[in-house]
């Protein structure tokens, strides 16, 4: 069964304290791995798509990387406005119609 596991469940950082979020996956065939950000009371907001091992993408203080078994979301010098839940999802070959399989998310809190 295709599965996505995120760790830690929650992460508290001080402003400026860099860290990484982990997303490990077990899938039959990976078409793409996605990172989303979700703020309380809102829908997920797209951040990145990664397609193959070794790929990296950056956006402001965020950098996503991908290996054959996991992905990391690195947050450099975070600010309070980076506080949110970060969701990882995969799309697999043989899956239905582009459906995403999500992990349970990592809730990030950044204190000033």
């Amino acid at each position: 069964e295709d599965q996505v596991t995120q760790s830690p469940e929650a992460l508290r950082l001080q402003e400026g304290e860099s860290s990484s979020l982990n997303c490990s996956y077990t899938v039959s065939g990976l078409r793409g791995l996605f990172w989303y950000r979700q703020d309380p009371g809102k829908g997920p907001e797209f951040l990145f798509t990664l397609y193959s091992a070794g790929e990296e993408k950056e956006k402001e203080r965020l950098k996503a990387t991908l290996t054959k078994k996991e992905s990391f979301l690195h947050i450099t010098a975070p600010k309070p406005e980076d506080s949110a839940t970060y969701l990882c999802a995969v799309q697999v070959y043989g899956g239905s119609q582009g459906n995403l399989i999500f992990g349970k998310g990592t809730k990030l809190s950044v204190k000033p």
Partner: protein, 114 residues
């Protein structure tokens, strides 16, 4: 400006009732989805709808039925509501179904069944 919109934002109802949630996208996308986010914040696909082809997640009870009057709308109808249906329901859309086609999510509808 809203890309994917849902109504209502909140829905409180009694067990056994029938209710609908509406979703509209103004992005011109050809694929729409319904996801359910439970109390533990776990987001799970329920349906996807592309070019009049409906794919149903096998774990979804047949009390749930998506209805698409046109390409821009995918409504969710729920019969005989149960306590366990309480969750946040998200609509999403994409142009195509490959990983190159990012999904845009609506703001969610929080359903509470009493």
């Amino acid at each position: 400006d809203t890309a994917v919109s849902q109504t209502p934002k909140y829905l409180v109802t009694q067990m056994g009732n029938d209710k609908s949630i509406k979703c509209e996208q103004n992005l011109g996308h050809d694929t729409m989805y319904w996801y359910k986010q439970d109390s533990k914040k776990f987001l799970k696909i329920m349906f996807s709808y592309n070019n009049k082809e409906l794919i149903i997640n096998e774990t979804v009870p047949n009390r749930f039925s998506p209805k698409s009057p046109d390409k821009a709308h995918l409504n969710l109808h729920i019969n005989s509501l149960e306590l366990g249906d309480s969750a946040v329901y998200f609509c999403a859309s994409s142009q195509g179904t490959t990983p190159y086609n990012e999904q845009f999510f609506g703001p969610g509808t929080r359903l509470t069944v009493l």
